[in-house]
């Protein structure tokens, strides 16, 4: 294999130029590698150096949502065991609706009477719709065995947690920056289907109505509420999250010891081990940019 011929010391030797025209450059072979080779390469241009504490604080929103889902599953379990009756469930629904609305009011601008009326109207339509559909949900899965229902619900909930958009809100909150993504839609659908499956195992129509209302309230509005809290004040968000985690752990401990261990293991992993591992493997990141990259259009395509 011929080695590349270096520059001779003769003064009439023309300099190597990075051009393609003019045939072979005199004095240089075609495989000559100049010192300017790869000098336009830029490495790791957009890689952000992450701080461990900040990542841990950001992961609190993930564990907060995991706790919310755990609480919902707790309510379902107690209802299926007939520990809750339908009146207490309806009370729970009303309390949640009021609390959520109160939190939303804290952070949103002053509501005009028109806006308030439109919200009340929409909620009224929503509740009426669920009430009239609850007979259908009551008999939806009568012919399916319970085992399939539990397995399907569990896998749907796992899918929901995996694909959930933890940084924003699925329902586009007023003032939110980006539109819902494709995966966040899938996660929302998974949670709704899971709640309908559970609701279909309940004894009476009123039970079904209360549980469906409760589950839909949480699925649709919990991300919005937590987004509003986070926007309002970060300390409030942290307090709310830690309070929620403590309450969840307490209730799960009362239910079953093994589940308590599992949940605390998940919370430790998400909050402590996860950020540490993420920052450890960041050092392997290798991003290459250079003149060979496809140019990015600097304007948005308006279709």
């Amino acid at each position: 294999m011929e080695a590349s011929i270096g520059r001779r010391s003769s003064p009439t030797q023309p300099k190597w130029r990075k051009v393609a025209y003019g045939g072979m450059q005199p004095g240089f072979q075609d495989n000559h590698t100049d010192e300017s080779f790869l000098e336009d390469m830029i490495m790791n241009a957009s890689v952000v150096k992450r701080d461990l504490l900040k990542v841990m604080l950001d992961s609190v929103s993930i564990s907060q949502y995991v706790c919310i889902v755990a609480l919902v599953v707790l309510v379902w379990t107690y209802t299926l065991r007939s520990s809750f009756n339908e009146n207490s469930l309806m009370l729970l629904d009303i309390i949640l609706l009021g609390a959520g609305f109160f939190v939303f009011q804290l952070t949103a601008e002053m509501l005009s009477f028109d806006l308030l009326l439109s919200y009340v109207l929409k909620i009224f339509f929503f509740i009426t719709g669920v009430y009239f559909l609850s007979p259908i949900y009551h008999t939806l899965t009568r012919s399916i065995s319970s085992d399939s229902i539990w397995a399907l619900t569990a896998s749907l909930l796992v899918l929901h947690l995996f694909l959930h958009n933890y940084s924003g809100s699925t329902v586009k909150a007023p003032g939110a920056l980006e539109n819902p993504t494709f995966t966040s839609n899938i996660s929302l659908n998974a949670s709704i289907v899971a709640s309908l499956l559970i609701a279909s195992r309940l004894p009476s129509r009123l039970h079904v109505f209360a549980i469906v209302l409760f589950s839909l309230q949480v699925c649709l509005f919990a991300p919005l509420v937590s987004y509003c809290i986070k926007k309002c004040s970060f300390r409030l968000h942290l307090c709310f999250s830690f309070g929620l985690m403590a309450a969840t752990l307490f209730f799960v401990y009362r239910l079953h010891g093994l589940l308590f261990v599992l949940l605390s293991g998940i919370l430790v992993f998400v909050n402590l081990l996860g950020p540490y591992w993420l920052i450890r493997i960041q050092e392997y990141k290798f991003e290459i940019n250079g003149p060979w990259d496809e140019a990015k259009l600097c304007f948005n395509l308006t279709e």
């Binding site: 294999m1 393609a20 140019a295």
Partner: protein
């Protein structure tokens, strides 16, 4: 130092005539010029519609249209070992000494190079495109390329930017990569004898109207230029998914009489469209080497292009005006081009292009690469396997496994159909008439007329 030894080369790619494009014309012209230098060239590609079997082209170029249909974007279905029998037969029949594969995106090329290495032939690979590193398809493409280039004898790239990109993607040592650019058939792309009048300036755009070729930039640039310069007219040749956007732009700004859309222009008519213009506009977002610019310069047009990829290396600074891929920058570049247009002499530009680019020069430089490749030492299977292991923790072992199975399959074929049973094609020497200098370059379209 001229080598008297003549080689027998097999060119392999999924992209060849009757399709038209950069890779196709590169293979064709390179083969023709190598034949003129006395070598024997055979081309292997897949079947196109009902064009299957062995065909002969100008100069005795034998083309094997192997009977597989393309299944995705002009590529044959990758079956790993399915192509081994036919490639072995072709290599033995034609007494090939060297295999030259083209284009990283061609599955037939990768398979042919893999089998050629298993059978002990020397292998050269030419890369014609640029790829990124971040998105999913680029990552997979780069892994496949790493596999093929782990054991290639020499590699050729069409521009210096392309060499940097290939070296980064495949991990080849830079000394193994030669830079040999494409060229243009200056006998076909001639300017008009009398200069066009300058009172109305015509800007020509000929490209596929897709995102990659910057059709969206055209949509932004054309109305701005038409507003700024009332005496400018556009001619757009080519078709594609973005044609609708260009038509909408025409309607929205009422530019029907100032922007002419020609639709798809067959390759034989490109020259007749180019000579109606003064300026050629190229707005691609990425380009390893832009042959369209060479064709335009050979026809005497001043080029305005985006500064991407290998484009800055293609033409000297006085024949091209470069701009960033931003609409305002491009409008400024077009304005500058209109101002320097009176100083441009098309005939002089054409004569200069004849000295800057020539397919015969490309063939001579490629011949040097072939000589270099054939001087390399042969290696047995174990030494070659050690080159695949560094490709990755899992990938290295997988690649070794693939090559071992290929080797075993080859031995099995040798037992079942021994080499001596394959009939060797006798060498046919077509008599070379001494041609006059003007018609030295053969034309792909001779047998179409």
């Amino acid at each position: 130092m001229s080598k008297q030894e003549k080689h027998k080369i097999l060119m392999v790619s999924d992209f060849f005539y009757p399709n038209f494009g950069g890779v196709e014309s590169h293979i064709y012209y390179l083969s023709q010029c190598l034949i003129k230098l006395g070598h024997k060239v055979v081309v292997m590609t897949h079947a196109y519609q009902n064009r299957s079997g062995v065909r002969y082209m100008t100069g005795g170029l034998k083309v094997y249209y192997v009977p597989w249909k393309p299944f995705l974007m002009q590529n044959t279905l990758p079956t790993f070992y399915g192509t081994l029998p036919i490639i072995r037969t072709i290599l033995i029949q034609e007494k090939i000494s060297l295999v030259h594969g083209h284009q990283a995106f061609s599955t037939l090329c990768h398979e042919a190079l893999m089998h050629a290495r298993t059978m002990g032939y020397k292998v050269v690979f030419t890369d014609h495109s640029l790829y990124g590193f971040g998105d999913v398809e680029s990552i997979h493409m780069n892994k496949v390329l790493q596999f093929t280039l782990a054991d290639v004898t020499q590699a050729i790239c069409v521009s210096h930017t392309s060499k940097e990109n290939t070296v980064l993607r495949s991990g080849l040592p830079p000394e193994k990569v030669f830079v040999i650019p494409n060229a243009v058939d200056t006998a076909m792309f001639k300017p008009v004898p009398e200069r066009l009048s300058n009172h109305e300036i015509v800007i020509v755009v000929i490209s596929r109207l897709v995102y990659r070729k910057g059709a969206d930039l055209l949509v932004e640039v054309i109305p701005k230029v038409c507003r700024l310069h009332p005496n400018v007219r556009f001619i757009i040749g080519g078709d594609g998914p973005k044609r609708v956007r260009l038509e909408e732009m025409r309607e929205k700004h009422s530019l029907q009489d100032r922007v002419g859309m020609l639709g798809a222009v067959p390759h034989a008519k490109v020259q007749s469209v180019l000579i109606t213009g003064h300026i050629f506009l190229n707005s691609s977002l990425t380009e390893a080497f832009c042959i369209a610019i060479l064709e335009a310069a050979s026809c005497g047009l001043l080029t305005v292009s985006t500064r991407v990829g290998g484009v800055p290396e293609v033409l000297p600074d006085d024949m091209v005006v470069l701009a960033e891929p931003d609409p305002n920058d491009m409008v400024q570049a077009i304005t500058k081009a209109i101002h320097i247009l009176p100083q441009i002499d098309p005939q002089e530009m054409h004569t200069r292009m004849k000295t800057l680019y020539s397919w015969h020069d490309v063939a001579r430089r490629t011949e040097i690469v072939y000589d270099c490749a054939l001087r390399c030492s042969s290696q047995n299977l174990l030494e070659r396997l050690s080159r695949y292991l560094p490709c990755g923790a899992w990938a290295g072992k997988l690649f070794c496994l693939v090559m071992i199975i290929d080797f075993l399959f080859w031995r099995l074929l040798q037992l079942w159909q021994p080499d001596s049973n394959i009939e060797v094609v006798p060498d046919i020497h077509l008599t070379n008439h001494p041609r006059d200098k003007k018609s030295q370059d053969s034309n792909m379209y001779d047998h179409l007329r």
